[in-house]
């Protein structure tokens, strides 16, 4: 009955349907027939082609990875780097363990610079007046133009970032030598000019000293973020950490005092962090100099005005420094000559020159000169310059008066840019002569006196680009390749400084193999001149405290903005704010309350008429008198990221229409006393009506249980266990706390007879620099998901760094904790998987099998560490060329499967196979995950817990070792070691 009724109705509804078949019946029929056809037709093999070499290079076997030693160009530090090349494509970069500066570490930026190689938006050819041209056209027109400039005797200026390359420096000099009025000006977007200027005043040499943190027992930093972005962070992290190990019977531990108004990465690692306003910091520096001078028997009245409390702090600091004469180090990140002269005075009076501060073999990483830059800007404004060459610099973006500079550039008859894309500056250039990516070209560097290194190409150039020095050689008359030019220069000026190799070609080959060479450096001595300090010291009081000032800081991810096209870095959370895809105005809670703004409310910052509008981020631990803004955002062309991330109905764009990623805060930089001032500029701040939700990867800040869940005064959760050095010295187990294990239903039936992989992370070593996070991303093909997905807590990083704040005892502390799959012995995820897609193996690994996973997500719900990531979508690459960066040893996961840290099992497998092939046992260190390899602080140790000789077993036995949430009885394979701070009094611990 019902059936007939239904049919009648449907016939009514589908009067026009032919042949009497209704829609439902048709679909039924079609379903059956298609199923049959599909099954019958499934066995058509997909035709795949295998295309071998025509002529195979003898040293290459397809499928094997080859490593080439080269030099990183991610920032000015020029760390040693190894590039892994597989079948002609670089797919991973790692630190070069033999390199004297970086010693195997490589930062997040260095790791991510690989992605920049596969950026399809790099210029594919040179441009003349914005139009595509050939190199022959460029050379012909350029020669004609240059001849005219020469004939007229016009002023030629060559503006670059710091040139650490001996060959490039020589080539620029040779090129400029052909003109009557020519000058090479260097400047850095993130300026260290004041340090060099101060040394010119106190040591009569304009040098940047090489800071030797490995020799410093007492470190005092005035807002120098030396573990994050300042000068050479990897070198400094290595040195700093080597002084803070707890090895040996009598461990020594350096003391680090950090004085700052913001919360920097370095400050978050300090033993003692003193939170002051920018003006107070200046006064403290003055007062400290007076005290140290008095101890050294000199009279130096700096007339510092300090509160009683700060004066007492400085008193004890002075005593500590004086007691560690020759073994202490004072550094300052403020770019004012006055401050840097005081720092030089301190280091000189403390006898640190020649010990922890090396001016005889100085650093060449920053050579920028702000005074010369200012002079050049004046020349440009007055129309004196006829030809301007700009390489490795983007002044229109990173100088405060960029827009007026852009207009001025348009009036210069000849502007040549060597940028790899039409950036803010290249827009106004007559010629744009794109340079190859550092991975595609020969380069050379001398980052510190006596350390020379080469960078070799690791891939055929992807675009029609030409190296700066090649272009200069063509325009100077003789065309030479970059390799010939570099070899020529080295034969002339570097070879004579080396000893060991009999002839140049052997020296060159050895250098190429190692990636660097240590040669003698010209030893120029210079004495500290105390009288110059007295005469140059101004006693004018610094700006009144209480006024709101702005502090502009290089971002750990974007640095000065040169990496703004790198999606990996955009999605790497800032180590302190945990913000991605944006920069923001950091305000203290009290300041935010006074202004009536909350997280995400947009505020307008105004410095001398220049304005920036940014969303607010409330930063605990920050001084009330400052607003902190990251530089490096708001770069032209970042609107390319508008639609990054998966396409779906509720998607919100990463970048709104017509906007860029973040805002350019460089407009707030001021020129004061011949240097660029990044901090201490008075700012007017006003609330606007708009809001802009920030995407943060971590929204919980405290180790205390939230009020909603329990008593806020209850004991702290022992996820981070910490102690003081004094307490550690008496009791090595101090601070580590083992909670009683809850009853377990698991039987102890897992016997690991072969390998048993495990990891120990030393929280005392980890600085939170996030190099491991990017290293993991590159190694394991982790996709970029975009701002909106991060806001929905759907970021895909297998390894994250949790950051916790603690404000007990009035001392603000920060702890960083890398967190990834703990590979539990009794894994809760394994028991709930209905399809056995996550199972244990007999080496203790918690395996995730993508091809079995059906995406129930039960495992993620049952994971106490929240380290599992679900592929909600198919994450396509925004840039098709990014496919070339994929690691062919790791599956690209599809939509609907779960994934998580695998302990880089592909590396373990390869190490095991290699050992088997050689007929030997696996050695400790043969299998090393990407995170452990890249760590500049050697915080991560991976190994076989069944190998009694291994480093991991040694660390597991250490009294400091504990496991996170061990009371659950899940028996994680990842252990942590207590965080140790060199503090005076023992902090009340959570279980006392």
């Amino acid at each position: 009955m019902n059936h007939n009724h239904h049919e009648e109705q449907s016939r009514h509804e589908h009067d026009e349907a032919p042949a009497g078949l209704d829609r439902r019946s048709f679909l039924k029929l079609a379903g059956f027939s298609f199923a049959g056809i599909a099954i019958a037709g499934c066995n058509q093999a997909k035709v795949e082609k295998a295309i071998p070499f025509l002529i195979q290079p003898e040293e290459i076997t397809p499928g094997l990875a080859y490593w080439y030693a080269t030099t990183c160009s991610g920032c000015n530090a020029h760390c040693g780097m190894l590039v892994k090349s597989r079948d002609g494509r670089p797919i991973k970069v790692e630190g070069n363990p033999a390199h004297p500066l970086s010693q195997g570490g490589l930062c997040a930026i260095g790791q991510a610079s690989l992605l920049g190689l596969y950026d399809s938006q790099r210029l594919k050819h040179p441009l003349i007046n914005g139009k595509e041209a050939s190199w022959d056209d460029v050379d012909a027109q350029m020669n004609e133009r240059l001849a005219r400039v020469k004939a007229a005797g016009g002023a030629v200026r060559f503006l670059t970032g710091t040139v650490a390359s001996p060959t490039t420096r020589a080539m620029i000099a040779r090129f400029l030598g052909g003109f009557k009025d020519a000058k090479h000006i260097e400047y850095d977007a993130i300026s260290c000019s004041a340090i060099l200027d101060a040394h010119e005043a106190t040591h009569e040499r304009r040098v940047l000293p090489r800071y030797r943190f490995e020799r410093a027992e007492v470190v005092v930093s005035f807002d120098a973020d030396f573990l994050g972005t300042w000068i050479s962070p990897i070198e400094f992290t290595k040195g700093y950490r080597s002084r803070r190990t707890l090895e040996g019977a009598q461990p020594s531990f350096s003391h680090h005092t950090h004085i700052e108004s913001r919360v920097s990465l370095t400050g978050s690692n300090a033993d003692e962090r003193i939170r002051v306003s920018h003006a107070e910091m200046h006064e403290m520096l003055r007062h400290l100099t007076t005290l140290i001078a008095a101890k050294a028997g000199k009279l130096l009245n700096t007339d510092a005005k300090l509160s009683q409390e700060l004066a007492t702090t400085i008193d004890s600091l002075a005593t500590r420094l004086w007691d560690a004469r020759g073994k202490s180090l004072v550094v300052c990140g403020v770019n004012t000559v006055q401050c840097q002269i005081l720092v030089n005075t301190l280091n000189a009076l403390l006898g640190n020159y020649g010990q922890t501060v090396d001016v005889e073999q100085p650093s060449h990483q920053y050579a920028g000169n702000d005074a010369e830059l200012i002079a050049l800007l004046d020349e440009i404004k007055s129309g004196k310059v006829t030809a301007l060459f700009i390489a490795d610099a983007n002044p229109v973006y990173d100088l405060p008066n960029g827009s007026s500079l852009r207009d001025a550039l348009k009036k210069i008859p000849l502007v040549v840019s060597f940028a790899d894309r039409v950036d803010e500056t290249a827009e106004s250039a007559t010629f744009v002569c794109p340079q190859p990516h550092p991975f595609e070209a020969w380069r050379d560097f001398e980052p510190a006196a006596g350390v020379v290194s080469v960078a070799q190409p690791t891939i055929q150039p992807l675009m029609n680009t030409r190296h700066l020095i090649e272009s200069l050689s063509v325009w100077s008359g003789t065309r030479q390749s970059a390799l010939d030019l570099i070899r020529g220069e080295w034969e002339k000026s570097v070879f004579e400084r080396q000893s060991g190799a009999a002839d140049f070609s052997r020296f060159w080959t050895k250098t190429l193999e190692d990636g660097f060479a240590e040669v003698s450096a010209k030893n120029a001595t210079s004495e500290f001149n105390f009288s110059s300090v007295v005469s140059s010291l101004s006693t004018a009081a610094s700006k009144a405290s209480g006024e709101l000032t702005v502090t502009l800081v290089p971002s750990l991810t974007m640095f000065d903005g040169r990496h703004a096209h790198n999606a990996w870095l955009h999605e790497l959370a800032d180590p302190v704010t945990k913000t991605v895809w944006d920069n923001c105005a950091w305000l203290s809670r009290r300041t935010a309350e006074t202004l009536g703004v909350g997280d995400g409310d947009v505020v307008q910052l105004k410095v001398d008429g220049a304005t920036v509008e940014l969303p607010t981020h409330i930063q605990p631990g920050q001084h009330d008198s400052v607003v902190v803004v990251s530089l490096g955002y708001g770069r032209k062309g970042t609107d390319r990221f508008t639609s990054i991330g998966p396409e779906w109905i509720q998607k919100r764009k990463t970048v709104e229409e017509g906007e860029l990623v973040g805002k350019n805060a460089a407009v707030l930089v001021r020129f004061t006393d011949g240097a660029r001032s990044f901090a201490g500029n008075a700012v007017a701040i006003t609330k606007t009506d708009s809001t802009r939700a920030l995407a943060k990867t971590q929204e919980y800040d405290s180790l205390h249980e939230p009020n909603l869940l329990g008593d806020p005064n209850k004991e702290r959760r022992p996820i981070i266990q910490e102690t003081t050095f004094a307490a550690y010295a008496t009791d090595h187990a101090s601070g580590s706390f083992h909670k009683e294990q809850l009853d377990t239903m698991w039987s102890d039936d897992h016997k690991y007879t072969g390998h048993h992989w495990g990891m120990v992370i030393d929280l005392n070593a980890c600085t939170g620099c996030s190099a491991c996070v990017v290293s993991c991303q590159a190694e394991n093909n982790i996709p970029v998901v975009g701002k909106d997905e991060v806001r929905r807590n759907r970021e895909m990083a297998w390894l994250r760094i949790d950051r916790y704040y603690d404000e007990a005892d009035g001392q603000f502390s920060v702890a960083h904790q890398p967190m990834m799959c703990q590979h539990c012995g009794n894994a809760p995820c394994e028991t709930v998987c209905p399809v056995l897609a996550t199972v244990h193996n007999d080496e203790g690994l918690n395996q995730q099998v993508y091809n079995r996973c059906v995406g129930t997500r039960y495992c993620a719900n049952n994971c106490p560490y929240k380290v599992r990531r679900f592929n909600w979508f198919e994450y396509r690459h925004g840039d098709e060329m990014h496919k070339m960066v994929l690691n062919p040893d790791v599956t690209v996961r599809d939509r609907g499967v779960m994934e998580k840290c695998s302990f880089c099992v592909q590396r373990i497998q390869l190490a095991k196979i290699d050992a088997k092939k050689d007929g030997r046992k696996l050695k400790d260190g043969d299998a090393m995950p990407a995170c452990a390899q890249s760590c500049p602080a050697n915080a991560i140790v991976f190994g076989d817990m069944n190998d009694p000789e291994s480093e991991i077993v040694r660390r597991m036995k250490d009294a400091r070792t504990y496991r996170v949430l061990e009371e659950l009885g899940v028996r994680p394979s990842v252990s942590y070691m207590t965080l140790i701070r060199n503090r005076e009094e023992k902090k009340e611990s959570h279980h006392a």
Binding site: L21, I55, L64
Partner: protein, 218 residues
């Protein structure tokens, strides 16, 4: 009436589907993605029977990657040229030409077989086997025979060094005129071989063949 028609059509469809299933199960059980017996036509009719069988060349002579690398590798064209610089045609054809030349009292002509001509073309060589600037060298695009899904990682060197014969997975290639996929290359087939190796060893040598998922899936 409509309902009757539907029943008829539906039962025909069910029968058809069932017959497809049945025939495939009785003749040759093939699940989706099983390409056992796949024998694609290659751009050059290269004979493994001749080279590896009759002439007795070792597999690793050309596929030397199998010893060192994840992939065995298809030899680069310059490997072919090591011999085929001199051997340009089957011996009988060359012999016949030289006999004929002797009879006709002239110098023998260069004999180049049609298949080898393709190799020389790839190298950009002219009829005298000299480089021809007009021709651009292009590598030969062979068709892959043994394909594994993209989430499976097989390492040749691990198996070769453990003493596994190439024929265990590739079949008697030395008897094949055109290469064919012999086993079904399914996971069960791999795992059974690993189990067997753990029990009986490989070539009399005891081995430990892993049964972990992550051995192949990562």
């Amino acid at each position: 009436m409509n309902s009757r028609l539907l029943t008829v059509v539906l039962s025909v469809a069910v029968l058809l589907t069932a017959s497809v299933f049945l025939t495939s199960f009785t003749t040759n059980i093939k699940l989706p993605d099983n390409h056992q017996g796949y024998e694609p036509v290659q751009p050059i009719a290269y004979s493994h029977r001749l080279h590896a069988g009759e002439l007795g060349l070792e597999c690793l002579h050309c596929h030397y990657g199998a010893e060192r690398s994840r992939t065995a590798g298809i030899p680069a064209t310059n490997v072919c040229m090591n011999c085929h610089k001199f051997v340009t045609a089957p011996w009988v054809n060359v012999k016949a030409e030289s006999d004929r030349a002797e009879k006709e009292k002239r110098a023998p002509r260069q004999i180049v077989s049609a298949e080898l001509r393709k190799v020389y073309d790839a190298f950009g060589l002219n009829s005298e086997l000299k480089p021809d600037p007009a021709k651009s060298p292009t590598p030969i695009a062979w068709t892959k025979v043994n394909n594994l899904p993209s989430f499976v990682y097989f390492n040749h060197s691990a198996h070769v060094s453990a003493g596994v014969e190439c024929q265990t997975c590739h079949g008697a290639v030395e008897t094949m005129e055109r290469v064919r996929q012999v086993p079904d290359l399914s996971m069960g087939w791999c795992v059974n071989c690993h189990r067997d190796a753990n029990k009986n060893g490989v070539n009399g040598k005891s081995v430990k063949a892993s049964l972990d998922c992550v051995t192949c899936h990562h």
